[in-house]
């Protein structure tokens, strides 16, 4: 355990420092190229640059390479390749508007390195009841998991700071859970995700100076999914991600098909005169997490973001309880 301390500290410092230092010049470059979009939740005509994905992936690649120098594990390579592929998919979507099916299908392909490198255990572990062996079914689970986690984080990237702030809470909860189930090496491999998210949150929090874009959100979500698979904590990871899962579930159950947000006609949320957020009564609009939070009355963007963070903390606690329950059998 002690011999893991140095790699853990070095990789976390590298992860945080790379994103913290690289994001301001990235903002300047994006401003120069006029890669900016209107922040729709601001009264004034505020333009915010995107995507922040290049800074995020740089932090992840450098920190994971540092860890690979210490432990030559296939699991690290699998996480790196899958996450980098997810970044590339997101970057294509940032530059060119792709169809609703592009991201799920491309992310399913991005999951293949995990299978090719054999960086998984086909036993699926459940709290209280033990494990179930599903060798063939587990391959399908891998293929489905990366698109689900990637798109789930992407779908929650709707307000200033929410995607990165949510990722800070979910990924640190997952790291704590990995320590609880005594998977120390993967716990350390997972830590850079939390530090990268934390460094990016500094620039993404309200008022945002940069948006992560699809490249940033898919990078966050896919790395989270890859860690869950190689760490054998799929169920715990799903629990920590529940608020974002609810958002996707509500969206899909109301829209009843896979579509891009930009293809939706109805608006789930509108603004009051003082530019607070308010749920609409539009029957064509999808039901979303933000719409449910706002159902009892208007709130500021910051209040909604903190409401989502409280839900994330609640699910993080449930995930930690689930991790403790993994050691108990009935």
């Amino acid at each position: 355990m002690i011999d893991l301390l140095a790699p853990a500290i070095i990789s976390c410092v590298v992860a945080f420092a790379v994103v913290f230092v690289m994001t301001p010049p990235l903002i300047k470059i994006l401003e120069k190229r006029n890669f900016a979009v209107k922040d729709v939740n601001k009264k004034e005509n505020v333009m915010v640059v995107r995507p922040g994905g290049p800074a995020i992936i740089a932090g992840i690649i450098t920190s994971e390479l540092v860890l690979y120098a210490f432990f030559q594990m296939n699991e690290i390579l699998a996480i790196l390749i899958t996450t980098s592929a997810a970044f590339a998919i997101g970057y294509v979507d940032d530059r060119k508007v792709m169809g609703g099916w592009f991201k799920p299908v491309a992310l399913a392909v991005a999951a293949i390195p995990i299978i090719a490198l054999g960086a998984y255990d086909s036993d699926l572990a459940f709290p209280l009841f033990g494990t179930v062996q599903i060798p063939a079914l587990y391959l399908a689970l891998i293929i489905f998991m990366i698109p689900i986690t990637g798109n789930t984080i992407n779908s929650i990237d709707v307000l200033n700071g929410v995607a990165s702030g949510f990722m800070v809470i979910a990924s640190f909860s997952l790291s704590i859970c990995l320590f609880i189930v005594q998977n120390y090496e993967i716990a350390i491999v997972s830590l850079p995700l939390g530090f990268v998210s934390l460094a990016f949150y500094k620039y993404h929090k309200i008022p945002s100076k940069i948006f992560p874009g699809d490249s940033g959100a898919l990078t966050f979500g896919s790395m989270y999914g890859a860690i869950a698979i190689v760490g054998g904590v799929e169920i715990i990871a799903a629990v920590a991600l529940l608020p974002a899962v609810i958002n996707s579930f509500l969206f899909l159950s109301s829209v009843k098909r896979i579509v891009e947000h930009r293809q939706i006609k109805g608006k789930p949320v509108e603004h009051t005169d003082d530019f607070r957020l308010k749920a609409t009564d539009d029957k064509k609009a999808p039901v979303t997490l933000v719409r449910l939070i706002l159902a009892r009355g208007p709130m500021s963007e910051k209040q909604v973001a903190f409401a989502i963070f409280k839900l994330a903390i609640f699910s993080g606690i449930l995930a930690i309880i689930t991790a403790f329950m993994m050691g108990v059998s009935i």
Binding site: L124, F126, P127, L128, F129, G130, T131, V132, Q133, I134, P135, A136, L137, A140, I235, A238, V239, L242, P243, V245, I246, F249, L250, S253, S254, D281, K283, V287, L289, L292, I293, A295, R296, A307, K310, L311, F314, S315, L318, T322, M325
Partner: protein, 76 residues
């Protein structure tokens, strides 16, 4: 609303644990014999079908819980 969302989260968590119990105790032990080399394949197909049915039931229950918790707020 917020307490409703916390309740919905908790309900999802309980469903995950119960679903896990069903998978481990019922789905896990299923094995089919008598088809030679196809035994593993047929077993996997049956497990996949049962798992899909469970997922559909899980989504149906979640929709019912969602409508029950949020029926006042979702006037849709």
């Amino acid at each position: 609303m917020k307490s409703g969302l916390f309740g919905f989260l908790f309900a999802m968590w309980v469903l995950i644990i119960i679903g896990g119990g069903i998978l481990v105790t019922i789905l896990g032990p299923i094995s089919i014999f008598g088809f030679g080399e196809l035994d593993l394949f047929i077993t996997s197909v049956i497990k996949a079908i049962v798992a899909l049915v469970l997922v559909v039931i899980w989504i149906f229950i979640l929709l019912k819980i969602k409508n029950w918790i949020f029926k006042k707020e979702l006037k849709l």
